[in-house]
Symmetry: C2
């Protein structure tokens, strides 16, 4: 486990430092979490979305394998630890506000990032262009890999 | 503005309905918000990340232009309304849990999605593979369009 005694990340600076600086000053929300977007390294298709606490972020940086915080299980979560579908990070980025992370990954094992057994969690499309109503139906989307 | 009297989205069902069904049952968090990942329609590079409330989601579906909820300004936000960099949605997807949205967009105007004047908000990389510390420095990333 990471050393929690010394500061692992820079404290938040002013707007200029956050947007234009090179000190990593990740913003964790009131629950101590930062959102992480995960895309496939070879195509940038969005595979999944999850949350990291400071421990998960530290472990991801240290090991190069994506770790998250499971809000439902309230536990640190090494993605793929049970399934073998580990996420090997090829690049991590942060955004202008340093309050979001983007991970490009190679999915190990069977290459399935979604717990439903699919490559991506985003396997249904929301029709755009009509009036939203409770009758709105999702449309099964083609495998994003075929995009 | 959307009609707020009739239900605009299905109520949340059970796990099976949410994961495998075709009824759109978006989950809004305790603040009434759902996260939205925005990628470029032509490359899937991640451009930005923002939040939608039910009104923003309804307007996005109705108009095909991305609307968000600005948490800092506490206001509905038609992205690009002032800059001209409107986000025209070519596809919207939701994930297995229906608690995240993914929008593929064409950026109108100057093609810049970030308020800093860049194409993408994710213009800095976080080095992976070392020990996290307050001394960690971000690396300016190549224009994602060149990826």
């Amino acid at each position: 486990m990471p050393d929690t005694k010394s500061p692992r990340f820079s404290p938040r600076g002013d707007k200029e430092a956050i947007e234009s600086g090179l000190a990593f000053q990740p913003k964790f929300d009131a629950d101590g979490l930062i959102p992480a977007i995960v895309t496939a390294a070879d195509s940038d298709e969005v595979l999944m979305f999850a949350w990291m606490n400071a421990d998960a972020l530290s472990l991801t940086i240290e090991t190069g394998l994506a770790h998250f915080w499971s809000r439902s299980r309230r536990a640190l979560w090494k993605k793929g630890e049970e399934s073998g579908n580990l996420l090997s990070v090829t690049e991590m980025r942060t955004d202008c506000d340093q309050d979001v992370l983007w991970l490009r990954v190679n999915v190990e094992g069977d290459g399935l990032a979604c717990h439903t057994g699919r490559r991506s969690c985003f396997y249904r499309a929301v029709p755009v262009g009509g009036a939203p109503s409770a009758a709105l139906r999702l449309v099964p989307a083609e495998d994003p890999a075929a995009h």
